[in-house]
């Protein structure tokens, strides 16, 4: 049975159909939670809250987007709320703007062939992970959706109700900021 049929049945009160929709999408939602929130407990919360909300507001789902896009929307809203309460130190929007415009002196050494550049390098992973976690919530969410999960710009635009140029700007700034953090690491390592 396809997604549209399952949604129709679920809306008509068929709980088995709803559970089938959950089964088909739960791994995606759980992993999105893990990636954005960074730990199992929060990912489990996000998972539960997303499906409870979906169940309770199923009648409002009009099918203008796909069911999974709609779920992503509920899940990212929850993640954003959670991230904003987080104590993890975030960089300011100004800092991230600086890293991508000309006023900032970009680190230009080319470390793309540096021998320390291996994903098994724990120190490097740690630095990158920390840098991603320090992105302001509205940047981090988009970065994960686009660059990690591989969602298209138009899908993200539907999920977050943002214009494509806004999404592009945030992706670009996040990337250059993260690149800068890695550049600093390689500089310390003596490139």
């Amino acid at each position: 049975m396809n997604e549209i049929e399952l949604v129709e049945r679920a809306k008509a009160g068929d709980n088995k159909a709803f559970e089938e929709l959950v089964k088909r999408t739960q791994d995606k939602i759980y992993n999105l939670g893990l990636k954005i929130l960074g730990n199992r407990e929060d990912a489990a919360d996000l998972l539960q809250e997303t499906y409870i909300k979906a169940y309770e507001s199923l009648q409002n789902f009009e099918g203008r987007s796909s069911f999974s896009t709609w779920l992503y929307r509920i899940a990212t809203n929850f993640a954003l709320m959670k991230l904003r309460k987080e104590k993890y130190k975030k960089i300011s929007i100004d800092e991230i703007k600086e890293a991508s415009d000309g006023s900032y002196k970009l680190e230009i050494s080319d470390w793309s062939n540096n021998p320390h550049l291996q994903y098994k390098n724990e120190e490097l992973r740690e630095i990158l992970n920390e840098a991603i976690n320090s992105l302001p919530p509205k940047y981090k969410t988009i970065f994960i959706l686009h660059d990690i999960e591989g969602l298209s710009l138009s899908e993200i635009s539907e999920i977050l109700s943002l214009s494509i140029p806004t999404i592009k700007t945030r992706i670009h700034r996040s990337r250059l900021y993260l690149r800068e953090k890695l550049s600093e690491y390689f500089k310390r390592k003596g490139n």
Partner: protein, 77 residues
């Protein structure tokens, strides 16, 4: 186009969201500009590494069980 403008195009270039003429300008530019070339290369590597640090995991059984429990207690009788 100067370096500042080229750098602004880097993400569109990586995502293949760039117009043909701008793409050509960028490609010509990085042939002669080490700085922009290295920014492009290192940005691509940053993305490559970022993808490597996240792995998809299966939902732990306990979390899955709680999820279905939480949904089922809400079913309308």
């Amino acid at each position: 186009m100067d370096c500042r403008e080229i750098i602004k195009l880097i993400s569109d270039y990586i995502d293949k969201e760039i117009e043909q003429t701008k793409k050509e300008i960028l490609e010509e530019h990085i042939k002669i500009c080490k700085k922009c070339e290295s920014i492009l290369n290192t940005t691509e590597k940053t993305l490559f590494l970022s993808r490597k640090i996240y792995k998809n995991k299966k939902i732990p059984k306990k979390i899955e069980k709680t999820l279905y429990y939480q949904i089922r207690i809400r079913y309308k009788k």
